[in-house]
Amino acid sequence: MYGKGIVKGLLVTLKRFFETYTDDIKHGKARYYTEEGVAYRSSPETRGLFTVQYPEEKLITPEEFRFIPFLVYDEKDDGEQAIRCTSCGICAKVCPPQCIWIERTSDPKTKRPVPEPKNFYIDVDICMNCGLCAEYCPFDAIKMDHDYELAVYDRHVNNIYDKEKLLKPASYYADIRPLNYTQEEKARAEAAAAKAAKAAARAARQKKQ
């Protein structure tokens, strides 16, 4: 029969239409404006409409989500910031659009480079959020952020981030990337233990001689 295909198609539309309501009734109020509601609506089980009402609702950012890097510092017991970055320059060399600028300084007395960078800039207008800097930094000093709401009124004055703006505590990092953080802390602890063991062995050897 001519027109059967159209009718069949319209039935699909109708089914979809009703599904929105049946799903709403099934899941009740919890379907909207709750974290579990958003999680359900992004899962393969979801039925009906699953539009997320941004900004009242927000998609749950998965751990690996990456948006603009930040610099990690550890908080010492006395409240001082211990910046992890050593100015090694790897992130600046790996950055595809070359938007990282690092100023390294040397100690005037010893002439040796100071580990902590004097200046560290990222031009976030140019940053392509590729995450390579975080991936290749050997000191876990630069990580990708989860904060994507960066709109500003004037990009010419606001969008070159300097060291102050880039620094965030390790606790923040642990918060947004718990799995990565635990893994890295474990690896760091192991490396530190291995180093300590080596030093102890050397000390013992020296003592013997």
């Binding site: 699909v12 600046a92 690092i102 480079p113 031009d123 959020n129 390579l132 991936e135 070159i160």
Partner: protein, 578 residues
């Protein structure tokens, strides 16, 4: 194992004598052909050896040797590894090479691109005009001695970034215009685009009719037109409502991806490939890392191979869903089908985001593996999608659209491309397979681990718009099949070997890596001279080359159908224009 066994063992020297010489440079393969015998040689390869499909044509500027080289990759449409031959000419203007359009019509746009970007004059080309750059552009930007606006250094990383990185905006230090070259005597105020006239002149005219004198009507569809999927233009001559001739005009989104790629280091190019066909960034990653891995002579571990296949097939599914949705938009089914499709695509993008960190700009594959393993729960999610959600959705789409009378009336018999034309015009992907040519690189020249999976090459035989739709539906089903096998078989293990270096060592030589992307053969031709940056980096873009056949598909159809014919090719302008 696959590449070696399939390499044809043909002896061209025996057949062609001194027309050809084997390319003996270290790391290179194939043959060098004398320019004066190029056309005869290509014709013989096509007719006697079955190399009927021109996969890729590009040029390399060997500035230190004072040579320009045009590189041709030809394939047999029945399958097998490509054969590569080259023509070398002195690097003195005018650089001329005979055009192969008469043998391979699919060379038309690719030769225009090589002329535009490399300045190689193809003698005998029917319509040699710039294709990506604008008409008033001076110079040929892919030449090694050409420098772009805001030029800083030949290769990255730039020295100004570290250790004395004083930030500045590039616009501030180098105001626009200082580094821009204009043609001699150029005055922007007085300039009129001559090539625009050339474009209109190149269109075929309506044949004169004694009884009914008709006026010549030239219509521009685009560049700003919702049907063109971006900024793209079709210049059309019309006889009444019937299309007499058509020329695609593109390049509005051109950013010289290849030049950027040659300034970049090898690793830096991976996130840039995301920006080609931004709907299927993982396929782009895949093709590029395959090419570089070929040069480096490495292979990823088993688990990484499986992850690559899973990601590539998910990419294909979401790309086809999007293509079908947008195609229905072009048909006039305003947004209901496309939103249904986008909803499902969203679920796949959620997985991409959880695994790679980004929904579209995935930047996930690395030389010798992938960046990281699946986070907990994601493989189960993919399994859930592959076994439960997606098959049901494809069936629903089938019920929803496939037998809709309006869809069929609009699509059947429209935009027909015969198998011979499809091959001759170097079309690829669903366009080629809808014309009855079962050519799918996953089977024709298997890469990665595709030889392990059980799936059929989707093929349809009418070559019209409707069949292109059907092929995409079939391919979604086949991809789901591959996914189901892959998630069952995936072994445990590392996803990349050893500690990753940010500067990879790539031995000198050339490599052509290709994958069957959602839009067709996606190839990367990479030439290394042993330095940290590629000497030549070329993308064989399926969206771009498929457009070569657009005019052929449109001729004789009604103007309203041009929109759906374009929609049925499924182009992404990020890739077309590069």
């Amino acid at each position: 194992m696959t590449e070696q066994t399939l390499t044809p063992t043909l002896n061209l020297e025996e057949r062609f004598g001194d027309w050809v010489t084997p390319d003996t440079r270290k790391g290179y393969e194939g043959y060098l052909v004398a320019p004066e015998h190029l056309i005869d040689c290509a014709a013989a390869l096509r007719d006697e050896f079955g190399y009927d499909y021109l996969a890729s044509l590009t040029a390399v500027d060997y500035l230190p040797d004072g040579k320009m080289e045009v590189v041709y990759h030809v394939s047999q449409s029945t399958g097998g590894a490509p054969l590569v031959f080259k023509v070398q000419v002195p690097r003195e203007d005018p650089v001329t090479v005979p055009s192969l359009v008469s043998v391979y019509p699919g060379a038309e746009f690719q030769e225009r691109e090589a002329w535009d970007l490399m300045g190689i004059r193809f003698e005998g080309h029917p319509d040699l005009r710039r294709i990506l750059m604008w008409e008033g552009f001076e110079g040929h930007p892919l030449r090694k001695d050409w420098k772009e606006a805001y030029y800083e250094e030949d290769t990255k990383p730039f020295k100004s970034r570290w250790p004395a990185g004083q930030v500045h905006r590039v616009e501030d230090t180098l105001p626009f215009g200082k580094n821009v070259k204009y043609p001699q005597g150029f005055d922007p105020e007085k300039w009129t685009p001559v090539e625009e006239e050339a474009l209109y002149a190149s269109l075929k005219r309506v044949p004169a009719d004694e009884d009914l004198p008709t006026e010549q009507l030239i219509v521009n569809l685009g560049p700003q037109h919702p049907s063109t999927h971006g900024v793209f233009r079709m210049a059309v001559t019309l006889d009444g409502e019937t299309i007499v001739d058509l020329k695609p005009v593109m390049g509005y989104l051109h950013r010289n991806h290849e030049k950027i790629g040659e300034r970049n280091t090898y690793l830096m190019n991976i996130p840039f490939t995301d920006r080609l066909d931004y709907l299927s960034s993982l396929s782009n990653n895949f093709g590029y890392v395959l090419a570089v891995e070929k040069l480096m002579g490495i292979k990823p571990p088993e688990r990484a191979e499986y992850i690559r296949v899973i990601m590539a097939e998910l990419t294909r599914i979401q790309n086809h869903l999007f293509a079908i949705g947008m195609f229905l938009n072009d048909l006039g089914a305003f947004f209901t089908p496309s939103l249904y499709a986008i909803e499902e695509r969203e679920l796949i993008l959620d997985t991409f985001e959880a695994v790679t960190g980004s929904r579209m700009m995935c930047n996930y594959m690395r030389f010798g593996g992938v960046a990281r393993d699946f986070p907990p729960g994601q493989l189960e999610r993919v399994r859930d999608l592959a076994f439960n959600r997606l098959p049901a959705i494809v069936d629903e789409f089938d019920a929803y659209l496939t037998n809709n009378e309006i869809v069929r009336a609009r699509c059947e018999g429209v935009g027909v491309l015969t198998p011979e034309q499809a091959i001759a015009y170097s079309t690829c992907g669903p366009v080629l397979r809808a014309s009855g040519v079962p050519y799918d690189l996953r089977r024709a020249d298997p890469y990665s681990i595709y030889d392990r999976f059980d799936f059929d090459v989707a093929v349809r035989y009418h070559g019209d718009v409707y069949d292109r739709y059907l092929v995409r539906m079939d391919e979604i089903r086949q991809s789901i099949r591959i996914l189901q096998q892959a998630v069952e078989q995936i072994p445990e293990g590392p996803v990349i070997e050893g500690k990753q270096q940010y500067q990879v060592r790539v031995p000198a030589g050339e490599a052509y890596g290709r994958v069957e992307g959602p839009k067709g053969e996606l190839g990367f031709y990479v030439v290394s001279n042993g330095k940290p940056n590629p000497w030549r980096y070329h993308v064989r873009a399926p969206s771009f080359i498929n457009l070569t056949a657009l005019a052929e598909m449109c001729k004789g159809n009604k103007i309203a159908d041009a929109v759906i014919i374009l929609g049925s090719i499924d182009i992404v302008l990020g890739e077309t224009d590069r």
